[in-house]
C-alpha cells in the first residue's frame, strides 16, 4: 500500500543529470571543462546554476562574462519554465546526461526574459502560485496566508527543503469538504511542435454530473490533437514529471499530487518516438 505522499516526495526529489558545456564561439582564456550537475526538476535554471556560472566565469575574461543563458540543440531554454518541463518538452527520450550549452553572448531577447537577480525568479514563482490559487480557491487561501508563509514557500523551493515547502503548500492543496475538488484546475499544456507558448483554459475537476474529470477529458476538451483518434495509433506522448500518466487519471488527483511547486500542472505534449 503505497501512500500518495510518496508521490509528492518523488516529484520533489526528481533530478536531471546535466552536462553543461560552454558554447564554442565564446571567447575564453583557457579551455573550459564541462560541468556536471544534478538539477532539481521542480526548480528553475537560473536559481540552481550559480555553480555553473562560477565555473565558466573562471575561464572567461571578466568583461565577457555577462548575463548567462542556456540553450539545448538550438532552442534557448526559458528560465521561467520549471527545469523538469524544459527537459520533458525538449529532451525526452534522449540520452542522459542532458547536454546544455552555456552562453554569455548574444542574449536572445525575443525568446528569453532577463533574469538579473533571484528576486525576479521569486516574483515570477509567487505570481504563478497566486494565479493558481485564484483558479483553485478564488485566491482565498493565498490571501489568508501571512507574508512569512509566502516566504517559506519560496525559501523551501530555493533551498530544496521539501518539508518546509509542503508545510505551507499543503494548505493550497486543500478544498472545502462540501466540494469534491478545486474550482478550476491550474494547468498549462505545452506542445513542442507549435509556436504557441502554451494552452491554458478554465477547466473544472468535476463534471456537471458529479463524476471526476480525467486527464483524457482535459485533453479532449482543450487539446484534442494530443490524443489519438478512436481507431488510430497514439502519435504523441503526454508527459508530466517525466512520466506518462494514464488518460484515466483523475485531473483533481494530478493537480494535488503532480503540480509543480508553482501549483500548476505543466503538461508536455511531444511526438512519440518512432522506433
Amino acid at each position: 500500500m503505497t501512500d500518495d505522499k510518496d508521490v509528492l516526495r518523488d516529484v520533489w526529489f526528481g533530478r536531471i543529470p546535466t552536462c553543461f558545456t560552454l558554447y564554442q564561439d565564446e571567447i575564453t582564456e583557457r579551455e573550459a571543462e564541462p560541468y556536471y550537475l544534478l538539477l532539481p526538476r521542480v526548480s528553475y535554471l537560473t536559481l540552481v546554476t550559480d555553480k555553473v556560472k562560477k565555473h565558466f566565469q573562471k575561464v572567461m575574461r571578466q568583461e565577457e562574462a555577462t548575463e548567462i543563458w542556456f540553450e539545448y540543440e538550438g532552442t534557448p531554454l526559458k528560465w521561467h519554465y520549471p527545469i523538469g518541463l524544459l527537459f520533458d518538452l525538449h529532451a525526452s527520450n534522449t540520452a542522459l546526461p542532458w547536454s546544455i550549452t552555456v552562453h554569455f553572448k548574444n542574449f536572445p531577447e525575443k525568446d528569453l526574459l532577463h533574469c538579473h537577480s533571484k528576486d525576479v525568479i521569486e516574483a515570477h514563482f509567487m505570481a504563478c502560485i497566486k494565479e493558481a490559487d485564484a483558479l483553485k480557491h478564488k485566491s482565498q487561501v493565498i490571501n489568508e496566508m501571512q507574508k512569512k508563509d509566502h516566504k517559506q514557500l519560496w525559501m523551501g523551493l530555493q533551498n530544496d527543503k521539501f518539508e518546509q515547502f509542503w508545510a505551507i503548500n499543503r494548505k493550497l492543496m486543500e478544498y472545502p469538504p462540501e466540494d469534491s475538488g478545486f474550482r478550476y484546475i491550474p494547468f498549462r499544456i505545452y506542445q513542442a511542435t507549435t509556436e504557441r507558448p502554451f494552452i491554458q483554459k478554465l477547466f473544472r475537476p468535476i463534471a456537471s454530473g458529479g463524476q471526476l474529470h480525467t486527464l483524457g477529458d482535459l485533453l479532449k476538451d482543450v487539446c484534442p490533437g494530443a490524443i489519438a483518434p478512436e481507431d488510430g495509433e497514439q502519435k504523441t506522448q503526454v508527459m508530466i514529471h517525466g512520466i506518462e500518466p494514464m488518460l484515466e487519471t483523475p485531473i483533481q488527483w494530478l493537480s494535488e499530487h503532480m503540480s509543480y511547486p508553482d501549483n500548476f500542472l505543466h503538461i508536455s505534449i511531444i511526438p512519440r518516438p518512432t522506433d
Binding site: 500500500m1 503505497t2 501512500d3 500518495d4 505522499k5 510518496d6 508521490v7 516526495r9 518523488d10 516529484v11 526529489f13 526528481g14 533530478r15 536531471i16 543529470p17 556536471y36 550537475l37 544534478l38 538539477l39 532539481p40 526548480s43 540552481v48 546554476t49 555553480k51 542522459l96 546526461p97 480557491h137 482565498q140 487561501v141 489568508e144 530555493q158 533551498n159 530544496d160 521539501f162 518539508e163 509542503w166 508545510a167 494548505k171 486543500e174 478544498y175 472545502p176 469538504p177 462540501e178 514529471h241 517525466g242 512520466i243 506518462e244 500518466p245 494514464m246 484515466e248 487519471t249 483523475p250 488527483w253 503532480m258
Partner: protein, 926 residues
C-alpha cells in the same frame, strides 16, 4: 462600559432565550427555537441593524474565535457546524451535522499488565512453583531436576542461578503452608494453581449463572470474566530497572467487573461550546469525520481500499515514477547536487539522567545538528552538553546509530529514552526529560524523523514488519533484514531499528500479507489501515488519510491497608514499621486517592475510585483480603491468625490518541491469531482466529488483503473458556483453555474454516499453560511459570504430536513466525550497566532438524509486553541452506564456532531440507 442599551428581540411574542457573540457577529435563539443572525454589527455600530432569520431550529448556538458557529439542533439533538463562514459572508451557508463520538459508548472493561514481574534469568531449569510439593510426594520427574545452569553463558551473571534457586526456595517454604494458599504475594497469578482459587472460580461461575442466565445453551460459561486468568504480578521498581524500563508506576492490572458508564447509543447533546475553537477556514474538519461503521454493525465496517487506490492509473504512476528515478538518477548519483543543503540545528534545554553516581536528573543543553552528506543522505548528530565537576563536557549520538526512541512513563517528568545497539547491550539508554509534554513530543517527532531520514525509511511498514508493544501501550514496528533469520552473519537483534506508530494497544498480531490486528486494554479490536505516523508524529512523517482517532481505557490500582488491634479492631492506624495505609501493591510507595494521578497527561480519569472485588486470592463482601502480616499472601476470609488486611481500589482512566487503526466493532477480544500464508493469492480469504474477552473461540470470515477487517464472526464451540489461540501456516489451530491445558482443532481448511472438533492435549507435567504459538510446523507453548515448551513428535499422521520438550524459562510472551523462528519477551535480562524486565529476545540456531534452537540473542527492552514476528516470511531457507551446506564448509564452521556449539551433524543438505519441508506440509494437510 457605562450603560446598557436595549436591542429589540426579533419577534414580539417570542423573546430571545440565548445569545452568542463572536468577534464580528451576534447570533441568537428565540423561545420558539428559531435562529437569528444580527445584520450590520461592526465596531462603530455594535448593536447592528436588524435580525435575519436563519434556516433551522436550534437549542443553542456558540460562536468560536473566528466567527465560526456551533449549534445543538432541536429535533435530533445533534451538534451542527455552520459551513461557509468567511470574512465576507459571516452568516455562512448551511448547517452541517458533525459526528461527535463519545468514547464511553463502547463497552468498558479495563485491563492492564504490569511492567515488572518476579522471575529468573534464562536457564534450562523448569520454573515450577509447586516443585517442593511434588518433591515431598517423592515424585520427582526428570525434567524438574535439570540443573540450573544459565544458558546464556556469556551474559548471565551468577545472579541468574541464584535467582532461580531462590524461586525454588520459595516453593520449599510453601510446603509448610496448606496447599491452597498463595505462596508469594508478588506472584499472585501463581495462586491460580491453588485449590482455593479453583473453588472460587466455580463459585463465580455459579453466581454468574444464577444472576445472569445465558441464552446460549452451548456456552454456559459465557459470562465468566476471563480477565482474571491473566493477572500479572507486581513488583517494586528497583533502581536498576528505573532507567531501563518504561514505567516507574507499573501497577496497572486487570480491570474488574463493575458498572459501565455511558450507555446510550445516540447521545442527545445539550450544550456545545466552541468559544475556544479556532477553525481554519479552508481545512476540512477531519477530526469530526469518524470511520464509517463505528456506530453500525460489524458487517458494515469494511476497510476496503477504495477503487481509486487500487486503480490502474495509480499503480502506473507509482511504477513510472520509480522507473524514472532509476533512469535519471541511478548512474548519476556521483554528480554534484545543484542545491547544497545547509546545516540545520535545533537546540533546547532538557534534563538528562546522568551517567555517574549518584544518578539523578540534571539540566543539560541539547543540540541536534542535521546535515546532508556528499551522497545526498541526510544525517544528524545529537549533542548533550553537561557540567561534570565544573568542567564542560558533552556526549554525542549519531542518529543513524539510534535504534529506538521511546517514551518513558514517569510520574513527574516527560521523559524518553534513546537506545543504540551498544546502549541496548548495557541496558542503559540515554534518558532525557522535557518540562512539558508538548516540548517532549516536539523533540520526539523531530528525532524520530531524523532517524528515519538517515536510514531512508519512510512510508508505511512492509508486510514483513515485526510489530511490538510496550507496557505503556506504545506501538513499534521494525523492518526485518533478510539476515535476521538466516545468513553467515546473523544480524543481532539489538541492531534492529524500531519506529513508533500512533495508537495505544495491548497486543498486536499480523501475517505476511500486511493484515494486522490489535487489541486495546479495553479489549476493543482494531484493524490496521495501512497508514503510518499518528500520535505525536505529525505532518509529513504521517500519512494523511489512514489516521483515525483511537481511545483506550485501563485501570489504576491502589491498596488500602489496615492492621488489627485489640481495642478498635481493624483500623487505619498501623505500627510505626508498617507500610503506608494507602499504598501501591508493593507497599513501598504511598498512593492515596487524592495524590494518585493518571499515568501521564495523555490520560484522564473516567470513573471514580471503586473497590475491586476481583483481586486474586478472593475478597470478603467489603473487598478486604486478610493476612497474618505485610507482606504476605492474602485470602478472602478472616481467620484467627490474621492481623492485617487490605483491599484494592481501582479507577479507570482513558487515553485519546490517533493512529492507523480502525475499530472492529461489536465483539471485544482477548487474543487473536492470523495465518501466516506465503503463497495464497490476493483474493483468497485469510484464516483469522480470535478469543473474545469472555473466552469464546471465534473465527473471522471474509478477511482478505483488500478487506483486512473481514465480514463476520463464526462461533466455534468449546467446553470451557479459552485464553490463547494460534493458527499455523497449514491451518493447524492450537488453543489454550482456561484450565491451562492445550487443545488441537482437527480438520481446519480453507473449505472448512472452523474445523470439526477439539482434541485435548495434556499440558507439560504440573504446569498450567497460558499461551500457544504455531509457526509453519513448529508448535510452542508457554506456561504460567514462564517456561517455554516445544511440541515434539508432530508427524503427518499424528498432527497433535507426542511430548513437550522444555526449551527455556524466564519467558513472558512469545511469537513463532512462518519460518518457525521464535521470538519472545524475556522476563529479565541483565546488561552490563543495568537490568531490563520485558525484553525482546530472538532464538538463534533454529534449523529444520533443530527446531528448538540453541541460544538467545537479546534485543530492545525493558518494558516490552508483546511482539509478533508472524509477518516475517522473508524466504530465508535458501540463504540458510547455501550458507550451511557442504558447499561452503568454511562458513558453516565459522558459524558454529561462533555459537560455541559446534553441532556439525545439524547442517543440512539442500535435499534434506526440502524433503523435510515436504513432509511437514503433509503433516498438516492430512
Amino acid at each position: 462600559g457605562i450603560s446598557w442599551s436595549i436591542v429589540e428581540s426579533p419577534s414580539s411574542e417570542n423573546g430571545i432565550s440565548h445569545i452568542s457573540v463572536g468577534v464580528d457577529v451576534v447570533w441568537c435563539i428565540t423561545k420558539d427555537r428559531k435562529v437569528w443572525f444580527r445584520r450590520g454589527v461592526n465596531s462603530h455600530n455594535p448593536c447592528g441593524t436588524s435580525w435575519i432569520e436563519m434556516v433551522g431550529e436550534m437549542l443553542m448556538v456558540s460562536v468560536g474565535l473566528n466567527n465560526q458557529v456551533w449549534g445543538v439542533s432541536c429535533d435530533d439533538r445533534t451538534i451542527y457546524f455552520r459551513q461557509g463562514i468567511t470574512p465576507s459572508e459571516l452568516s455562512g451557508k448551511t448547517w452541517k451535522a458533525i459526528v461527535a463520538v463519545r468514547e464511553s459508548d463502547r463497552s468498558q472493561t479495563g485491563s492492564s499488565t504490569s511492567l515488572l514481574s518476579a522471575g529468573c534469568f534464562f536457564t534450562d531449569d523448569i520454573q515450577n512453583q509447586t516443585n517442593a510439593i511434588i518433591q515431598s510426594d517423592a515424585d520427582t520427574s526428570s525434567d524438574t531436576e535439570l540443573p540450573s545452569v544459565p544458558m546464556n553463558l556469556a551474559n548471565t551473571p551468577p545472579m541468574g542461578a541464584e535467582a532461580s534457586s531462590s524461586g525454588n526456595g520459595t516453593g520449599n517454604q510453601a510446603a509448610e503452608i496448606p496447599v491452597n494458599l498463595t505462596v508469594d504475594p508478588l506472584d499472585s497469578d501463581q495462586g491460580e494453581a491453588t485449590v482455593a482459587l479453583t473453588n472460587n472460580e466455580k463459585a463465580n461461575l455459579e453466581m454468574h449463572k444464577s444472576t445472569n442466565p445465558d441464552p446460549s445453551a452451548e456456552l454456559r460459561w459465557t459470562n465468566i470474566d476471563l480477565k482474571e486468568a491473566q493477572k500479572y504480578p507486581v513488583l517494586s521498581v528497583s533502581t536498576f530497572a528505573e532507567t531501563s524500563s518504561l514505567s516507574s508506576l507499573g501497577m496497572f492490572s486487570v480491570g474488574a467487573e463493575e458498572q459501565q458508564y455511558g450507555a446510550d447509543e445516540h447521545p442527545l447533546w445539550a450544550w456545545v461550546s466552541g468559544g475556544g475553537c479556532l477553525v481554519d477556514l479552508h481545512s476540512p474538519l477531519k477530526w469530526f469525520t469518524v470511520p464509517s461503521g463505528l456506530s453500525s454493525s460489524a458487517q458494515s465496517l469494511s476497510l476496503s481500499i477504495t477503487p481509486a487506490q487500487t486503480a490502474a492509473w495509480r499503480k502506473q504512476i507509482f511504477q513510472q515514477l520509480s522507473e524514472r528515478t532509476k533512469r535519471e538518477l541511478e548512474n548519476f548519483r556521483h554528480y554534484e547536487q545543484a542545491v547544497e543543503q545547509s546545516v540545520w540545528v535545533k537546540t533546547g534545554t532538557l534534563q538528562w539522567w546522568r551517567n555517574w553516581k549518584p544518578y539523578k536528573w540534571m539540566d543539560v543543553r541539547v543540540t541536534l545538528e542535521q546535515f546532508t552528506g556528499s551522497d545526498g543522505m541526510r544525517d544528524s548528530i545529537l549533542f548533550i552538553y553537561y557540567m561534570y565537576h565544573e568542567e564542560k563536557k558533552y556526549i554525542h549520538v549519531f542518529l543513524n546509530e539510534v535504534t529506538i526512541i521511546v517514551e518513558v512513563l514517569n510520574e513527574a517528568k516527560h521523559s524518553f529514552a534513546l537506545y543504540t545497539p551498544e546502549r541496548t547491550k548495557q541496558r542503559w539508554p540515554i534518558c532525557l526529560a522535557a518540562t512539558t509534554e508538548q516540548e517532549m513530543h516536539d523533540w520526539l517527532s523531530l528525532l524520530n524523523m531524523s532517524c528515519c531520514e538517515s536510514r531512508r525509511i519512510q512510508g508505511p511498514p512492509s508486510h514483513h514488519a515485526i510489530w511490538s508493544v510496550t507496557c505503556k501501550g506504545d506501538i513499534f514496528v521494525s523492518e526485518p533484514s533478510p539476515e535476521l533469520e538466516a545468513g553467515p552473519h546473523l544480524m543481532q537483534c539489538d541492531q534492529m531499528f524500531w519506529r513508533q506508530v500512533g495508537g495505544h494497544l495491548r497486543l498486536i498480531e499480523c501475517n505476511n500479507r500486511g493484515i494486522v490486528w490489535g487489541i486495546g486494554y479495553d479489549h476493543t479490536a482494531w484493524v490496521y489501515t495501512g497508514g503510518y505516523g499518528g500520535g505525536f508524529i505529525q505532518g509529513l512523517a504521517s500519512s494523511a488519510d489512514n489516521i483515525y482517532m483511537q481511545t483506550d481505557v485501563k485501570c489504576v490500582y491502589i491498596y488500602e491497608n489496615q492492621r488489627w488491634n485489640p481495642v478498635t479492631g481493624y483500623s487505619s492506624r498501623g505500627l510505626p514499621t508498617d507500610r503506608y495505609m494507602w499504598s501501591d501493591a508493593s507497599g513501598l510507595q504511598e498512593c492515596t486517592k487524592l495524590n494518585t494521578k493518571p499515568p501521564s497527561p495523555q490520560w484522564s480519569w473516567v470513573s471514580d475510585w471503586y473497590i475491586d472485588f476481583n483481586t486474586s486470592g478472593g475478597t470478603d463482601r467489603e473487598g478486604w483480603q486478610y493476612a497474618a502480616d505485610f507482606p504476605a499472601s492474602y485470602h478472602g476470609h478472616k481467620t484467627m491468625k490474621d492481623f492485617v488486611r487490605r483491599r484494592r481500589w481501582a479507577r479507570k482512566c482513558k487515553i485519546v490518541t490517533n493512529g492507523p487503526w480502525l475499530e472492529v466493532p461489536s465483539v471485544t477480544l482477548w487474543d487473536i491469531s492470523i495465518i501466516p500464508s506465503s503463497d495464497a493469492d490476493d483474493e483468497e480469504a485469510v484464516a483469522l482466529w480470535a478469543i473474545s474477552d469472555k473466552g469464546d473461540v471465534l473465527c473471522r470470515l471474509g478477511v482478505t488483503q483488500q478487506n483486512p477487517a473481514g465480514t463476520s464472526w463464526l462461533h466455534v464451540g468449546t467446553d470451557q473458556p479459552f485464553i490463547s489461540i494460534s493458527v499455523g501456516a497449514y491451518y493447524q489451530v492450537w488453543a489454550i483453555a482456561r484450565d491451562g491445558s492445550a487443545f488441537y482443532r482437527g480438520s481446519v481448511s480453507p473449505k472448512k474454516p472452523a474445523g470439526d472438533c477439539w482434541y485435548h492435549i495434556p499440558s507439560p507435567q504440573k504446569q498450567k499453560l497460558k499461551q500457544v504459538s504455531v509457526g509453519q510446523t513448529s508448535v510452542f507453548v508457554l506456561d504460567k511459570n514462564g517456561n517455554l515448551w516445544y511440541r515434539q513428535g508432530i508427524t503427518p499422521s499424528y498432527p497433535q504430536g507426542s511430548t513437550w520438550d522444555h526449551v527455556s524459562n524466564n519467558i513472558r510472551k512469545m511469537s513463532v513466525g512462518p519460518l518457525d523462528q521464535v521470538w519472545v519477551i524475556a522476563d529479565k535480562v541483565q546488561g552490563s550497566h543495568g537490568l531490563s524486565c520485558g525484553t525482546v529476545c530472538h532464538r538463534t540456531g533454529i534449523q529444520p532438524m533443530e527446531p528448538k534452537g540453541l541460544s538467545w540473542d537479546y534485543g530492545i527492552g525493558g518494558g516490552w509486553e508483546h511482539i509478533t514476528v508472524r509477518g516475517n516470511a522473508t524466504d530465508a531457507s535458501r540463504v540458510a541452506v547455501q550458507d550451511t551446506s557442504e558447499e561452503n564448509p568454511a562458513v558453516s564452521k565459522d558459524l558454529e564456532g561462533e555459537e560455541g556449539k559446534g553441532k556439525t551433524e545439524h547442517s543440512r543438505t539442500p535435499l534434506m531440507v526440502s524433503e523435510s519441508q515436504e513432509l511437514n506440509r503433509n503433516t498438516v494437510n492430512c
